[in-house]
Each structure stands twice: as structure tokens, then as C-alpha cells.
């Protein structure tokens, strides 16, 4: 699973060599940031903001809140950069900040509302999965199906507990490995696998109309 991860708009192979090179590049950028070079931090921001947003948005299911949390995470990383010792990869550290902030935000906000993307319907509309679903339904109501699917997906993911949602988002949506998720969430790989298994069972039950 997770043969590639996207870094910005580029898919990067997650083979051991590639991961080392990504970590090395990030380490160089971090050193430059520590030396006071703002442009290096701009590079890190541009590199990870898209992925980080994806994770936070799918945990919160609210675009505005997600934007806010992602910004706060980058600010936190910037102001704490001197304390980053390089024991883990920079992106692991950054993800941990973002995930923790998201979890704190979720615990504090009781009233939440979904706030998704209008453009997602356009993207969904051209998806092969939607093609299959439309074919299975047989009624040709593509637009209605897309809208329904988007809402149902959000609802399903949000119905998971914070811990289960985190592993599902990081693994299935962001494409991280079990080991990386374990490092981010400060748990073991076994815990990650267990949570993932249970979360998928729950999701299958909610989305049974869409799953074969």
C-alpha cells in the first residue's frame, strides 16, 4: 500500500532511497531556516501545505477551519524550528503538530458543520468510481449521485472517533505508511493496524450502498 505519496503536485516514490533523499532535502532546508533564511521556510510551506491541508480538512471536514489549523501548524513549526533536532523527518514532525492541533480543535468544538468544496463535485463527476456507481444504479442521475456521495463520505469519516479518523485519513487519503503514522501519532504500528481495521469495518457499514 502507498506506493507513492504526493508532495505538492508531484508524486514521489516511497522507496527507501527516495524517502532518504526527501528527508535529506528537508534537513538542508531546515538548517537554512535555522540560519534565518525565510525563503527556505517558504519552500517547505509550498512543499507540504497541500498534503497537510488534505489531512487536516478530512479530520475536521471544514475548509475554513482547516486553513486556519494548517497556518497555525506552519507558524508553530517556524517558531519552534530551533528545537527541532532532526530525530525524525521534518514532515513527520510537521504532521504531528498539525494532527495534534486538529485533535485539540475537535475536542473543543462541539458544534461543527461540514463545509466542503464546490469544485469537488466537478472532480468527482469525472471519476471512474462514479462511473461504476452510475452504471450500477442504472438511473443515469450522475449529478445527484455525486452530491450524495460527497456528503455520505464526509458523514462516514466524521462518524469515526478521532483516533480512528486520524489513521484512516493518514493512511487511505494521505498515503502514509503504518510506520510513519505510528511515529506521528506516537503509537505502535500494531495499534495503527488495529485502528485501521476497525475504522474500515465501520466505514463499510455506513457506505454499504456504495461498496461492492
Amino acid at each position: 500500500m502507498a506506493d507513492t505519496v504526493s508532495v505538492g503536485k508531484t508524486n514521489v516514490s516511497t522507496s527507501a532511497d527516495s524517502l532518504r533523499s526527501v528527508a535529506d532535502v528537508d534537513a538542508d532546508l531546515v538548517e537554512r531556516v535555522k540560519a534565518g533564511e525565510m525563503a527556505a521556510f517558504d519552500e517547505l510551506t509550498a512543499k507540504y501545505r497541500d498534503r497537510l491541508f488534505g489531512v487536516v480538512y478530512n479530520m475536521l471536514s471544514n475548509k475554513e477551519d482547516a486553513m486556519d489549523i494548517v497556518q497555525e501548524s506552519f507558524i508553530k513549526a517556524f517558531t519552534s524550528i530551533k528545537s527541532f533536532r532532526g530525530n525524525s523527518a521534518f514532515y513527520t514532525w510537521l504532521y504531528r503538530i498539525a494532527v495534534n492541533r486538529s485533535i485539540t480543535f475537535l475536542k473543543r468544538s462541539r458544534m461543527r458543520r461540514f463545509f466542503s468544496f464546490e469544485n469537488m463535485e466537478e472532480e468527482l463527476g469525472s471519476s471512474e468510481i462514479v462511473d461504476k456507481l452510475v452504471e450500477r444504479q442504472g438511473n443515469g442521475r450522475r449529478a445527484a449521485l455525486v452530491s450524495e456521495l460527497r456528503d455520505k463520505l464526509n458523514e462516514a469519516v466524521q462518524s469515526l472517533s478521532v483516533n480512528h479518523r486520524t489513521v484512516v485519513v493518514l493512511y487511505e487519503i494521505d498515503g502514509m505508511s503504518h510506520a510513519e503514522i505510528a511515529e506521528i501519532t506516537k503509537t505502535s504500528e500494531a495499534t495503527v493496524r488495529t485502528r485501521l481495521h476497525y475504522a474500515k469495518q465501520q466505514l463499510r457499514a455506513i457506505l454499504k450502498d456504495y461498496v461492492s
Binding site: T45, R136, V168
Partner: protein, 156 residues
């Protein structure tokens, strides 16, 4: 054929990768992030702190040296002008009129002040200090640790 049409839960979840902001939203994000970072950096390092850090780091002035310099400068102004150094001291300590005690013979260093022993209810075992100091050497900080009240008046 059947497998081609099979949809897994993982396939549905991958659809959520399509939810991404437009480029215009990222531009707004970048601008806002920069603004917030600048505000955070400024908040963390106020001007007064930077100024004091600079002064202390350069060892330009310690607080004691600063206090003594100010005190000496003020005292010198009054002595030179001759318009009330004595009154200032005597007014301040009007409630207490200590007796002049015998001063030790010291080299003349301009004007001198004599600190007299004031009878206060203390244990007899305590040692009282009689201190003679010159105007130019007056320093409040030197007596900061003393438990004995120091009353200073001029003698010309």
C-alpha cells in the same frame, strides 16, 4: 468483469483526495500565513526587550552602575549649583536630626557626607556602622544589603 465493477472502501476514500483548494485560495493562504508569521515574530520580541538585551549583552551598563551614575549626576548638579543640596537632604530628613559625630580624618575629596549613628531599637549585639562617603562615590546600591537605615546629610 465482475472485478472491474467492484468498488472497495479504499476506492471511495481515495475520492476524498480530490478535495483541494483552488490556486486562488492558496495565494490567499500564503499571504495570510506570512502576515501571521510576522505578527507572531513581532509579538515574541518587543522593542523594550530587544533594547535591554542589547544593553546587557554589550555589558554597557549594569543596573547598579546605572543607579550610581544617576545618583552622582543629580547630587553633583545640586552641589555645583549650590541651590539646595543641603536643603534637599535636610528637607528629606527633617523629621530626624542626627548629631554630627566625629569624622575620621580622610583626604579631602571635595564635599563629604557623614552618616551618623541613629538610636534605633535593635539588639545590642548588632553592630552599627558609621560611614563616611564622598559625593562622587555615593552609591545607593552599596548599602542595599545593609539592615541599618542610612541617613545622609551634607557637611560643608
Amino acid at each position: 468483469m465482475k472485478d472491474d465493477k467492484k468498488i472497495e472502501i479504499e476506492d471511495l476514500l481515495k475520492l476524498k483526495r480530490l478535495e483541494r483548494p483552488a490556486e486562488s485560495e492558496w495565494r490567499e493562504f500564503d499571504a495570510r500565513l506570512k502576515q501571521r508569521m510576522l505578527m507572531r515574530v513581532q509579538k515574541k520580541d518587543p522593542v523594550w526587550r530587544r533594547a535591554s538585551d542589547f544593553a546587557l549583552s554589550k555589558k554597557i551598563l549594569t543596573s547598579g552602575a546605572l543607579a550610581s551614575s544617576v545618583f552622582a549626576a543629580v547630587a553633583l548638579i545640586f552641589v555645583v549649583s549650590g541651590t539646595g543640596g543641603e536643603n534637599l537632604v535636610s528637607d528629606d530628613f527633617a523629621a530626624v536630626r542626627p548629631k554630627l559625630s566625629n569624622r575620621a580624618e580622610l583626604p579631602s575629596v571635595g564635599e563629604t557626607f557623614v552618616a551618623s549613628e541613629i538610636p534605633i531599637p535593635v539588639n545590642k549585639d548588632e553592630t552599627h556602622m558609621e560611614i563616611t562617603m564622598s559625593v562622587s562615590e555615593a552609591s545607593v546600591s552599596q548599602f542595599a544589603s545593609s539592615n541599618i537605615p542610612l541617613f545622609v546629610h551634607s557637611s560643608f
